[in-house]
């Protein structure tokens, strides 16, 4: 299935690109606890990559390593063919990696529009002084950014709540606003931490559609964590399976589904 000249072809015949993010031998410890044990995997350009595993497997920790919220004790993170030095989360964000959070981290006091505009901050370059004096350049920049933000708001179908303070929104819509904010950064890599957690079937279908559309229309590479196996198998191109901080499977949904170790982990076979 792998072809080194033409990249990689997925199960349903989709062509995906070269390796964008390469995690090599990542080990993450909290005190004496090893949350991630020597895990390597890659994320290819244009694909939807899922990380799955039972509770406490270390999936969120892995996402936090990618987004710079945790720095691993061992291992290397390679991004676009360059080894990444230890970085702060805001520096990772400025490299074009946007994310959402499992428990939603929005600016609750701000309107939906303001929240999504915050996602544009990495793309706005006007300096402090010209901003303070409000010269033409800053104004033009604001207008241009507003246009793109409105497009994203239309795309995710949240026009009706543009001016609503986020704190008043129901859970499902908050998740969507958070996705909008991440998209506003025009990220090269989009990280989604359980984008469908706590949603009903209809909301899950909507979110799945948005994720597929984002990947399709903007060509955004997506790495996501999800519990709902049906969803994962449906939308992802390749899947990493983690259990107790180890990687126990890696491949197409079909390969992973037939992997004995993965079946054991999900059915709860005793560990030796």
């Amino acid at each position: 299935m792998k072809d080194h000249v033409d990249g990689y072809v997925t199960e349903d015949g989709r062509q995906i690109g070269d390796v964008m993010m390469d995690m090599r031998g990542i080990t993450l410890r909290f005190g004496g606890v090893e949350a991630i044990k020597n895990i390597s995997f890659d994320i290819r350009e244009g694909e939807i990559r899922a990380i799955i595993g039972p509770n406490g497997a270390g999936k969120s920790s892995m996402l936090n390593v990618i987004s710079g919220f945790y720095n691993p004790q061992d291992g290397e993170v390679w991004f676009h063919g360059e080894k990444r030095p230890p970085m702060k989360p805001f520096q990772v964000a400025r490299q074009g990696i946007a994310r959402t959070f499992q428990n939603i981290a929005l600016f609750e006091g701000m309107s939906v529009l303001d929240n999504v505009m915050c996602g544009r901050l990495t793309q706005m370059n006007t300096g402090l002084l010209s901003q303070a004096i409000w010269k033409g350049k800053a104004e033009r920049e604001e207008v241009e950014n507003r246009e793109l933000v409105e497009k994203i708001i239309d795309f995710l179908e949240i026009q009706a709540i543009r001016k609503t303070p986020v704190g008043r929104l129901p859970y499902g819509l908050k998740k969507r606003v958070e996705l909008a904010r991440a998209l506003a950064a025009e990220p090269k890599l989009l990280l989604l931490d359980e984008p469908m957690a706590g949603m009903n079937v209809e909301e899950k279908e909507d979110m799945s559609r948005f994720i597929l559309d984002v990947n399709d229309e903007f060509g955004t590479t997506i790495a996501l964590i999800e519990h709902d196996m049906g969803v994962v198998m449906d939308i992802s191109d390749r899947v990493v399976v983690m259990d107790y901080g180890r990687k126990i499977g890696d491949g197409t949904p079909h390969e992973v589904r037939n992997n004995q170790e993965v079946i054991d982990a999900y059915l709860g076979v005793a560990h030796d």
Partner: protein, 332 residues
């Protein structure tokens, strides 16, 4: 023709409003830092003192640390022998306050991220005493007059214009010109701060940090940068407050005590609200002047010393989050 008592009452309210604006200005410095970083900055008053000292020092061409230099090298330097115009000196002082903001973040609060509020508060107490000492060491501890060219004394114009409102015993409203300037300056400062926070990129980032640190990081905001920015803005507010109070009553240690006046203002207005700081300041300013004018005499006077605190205490009992503060709801 209105009764003289009523007209004096109005004059008291007007003067109270203007005193209130100055209280609001100091309170604003607290709110800026508290909102963005959760630090209650005890040093805000000393920052106003330090800014005023630095401004006088620069204007008069004082050699900083002159005492120390003379003691170590046996020299006798005190002045450079030049005078700096007020406007240039204000810009330079602002530069010093920005440098101070950077140093505070770099050497103190960067290392205290995620600590308990009480620890951050203790750090600002230490900072207050340190800054007070540095101010003394740099510019000397004598009382200085600050003259940046602001008008002094009562406004004749207003007196003349309003004298006809009452009978012969009424000479018109007495309004201090400096208070009027202070009111206008404070109003401009507050409006520009609100506009900056609302419409600029950095202002949006500032509000984002005030709202949620984690989310702010995830959209590429450097918390360090924002904290230096808010400390700089607090420095700007301290400088303006220092100029106004310094011009009014001289630059001396007691200037740092205006910070204590800001506390009841904050309790009234809420620690996280800019409009709250303004309205709280006005209520306290008017309240204490009016109380002194109407009831003060019966209680032996000098009620202005404690009125604000008692008012704040009453507020604490009935509305602990202040007029505009966010209500704290705890889910069980």
């Amino acid at each position: 023709m209105m009764s003289a008592d009523f007209l004096y009452g109005i004059e008291v309210v007007l003067n109270g409003l203007m005193a209130g604006v100055l209280y609001a200005l100091v309170a604003l410095g607290f709110v800026l830092i508290f909102k963005a970083s959760g630090i209650f900055n005890y040093a805000q008053g000393v920052m106003a003192l330090f800014a005023a000292l630095t401004l006088v020092g620069i204007m008069e061409g004082q050699v900083p640390f002159a005492h120390m230099i003379n003691a170590i090298f046996g020299t006798e330097v005190h002045h450079f022998g030049w005078h700096v115009p007020a406007f240039a000196a204000i810009i330079m002082t602002l530069g010093v306050m920005v440098l101070f903001a950077w140093a505070v973040q770099q050497f103190i609060f960067k290392h205290l991220v995620g600590q308990e509020p009480i620890i951050l508060f203790m750090a600002t107490i230490g900072l207050a005493y340190f800054l007070e000492g540095v101010g003394d060491l740099m510019w000397g501890s004598n009382i200085k007059t600050l003259d940046v060219g602001l008008p002094q004394g009562g406004s004749r114009w207003i007196e003349d214009m309003t004298a006809s409102l009452g009978d012969d015993s009424f000479y018109g409203f007495f309004i201090d010109k400096l208070d009027m300037v202070a009111t206008v300056v404070a109003a401009i400062l507050v409006l520009s701060l609100i506009a900056f926070a609302q419409y600029s990129k950095q202002g949006r980032a500032m509000r984002a940090v005030a709202d949620d640190h984690q989310a702010a990081l995830s959209v590429g905001i450097s918390l360090n940068f924002i904290w230096v920015l808010v400390w700089s803005l607090a420095g700007l507010v301290a400088l303006v407050a220092g100029i106004m109070w310094g011009a009014k009553s001289g630059v001396q240690f007691s200037l740092s005590l205006i910070a204590l006046k800001a506390l009841p203002v904050l309790m009234l207005g809420g620690f996280t609200s800019i409009p709250g700081a303004i309205v709280g300041g006005l209520i306290i300013g008017v309240g204490e002047k009016l109380f002194e004018y109407t009831i003060g005499g019966m209680m032996g006077g000098a009620t202005e010393n404690w009125f604000a605190y008692v008012l704040a205490l009453i507020f604490l009992v009935f509305r602990p989050q202040g007029l505009f503060g966010e209500k704290i709801i705890e889910r069980v």
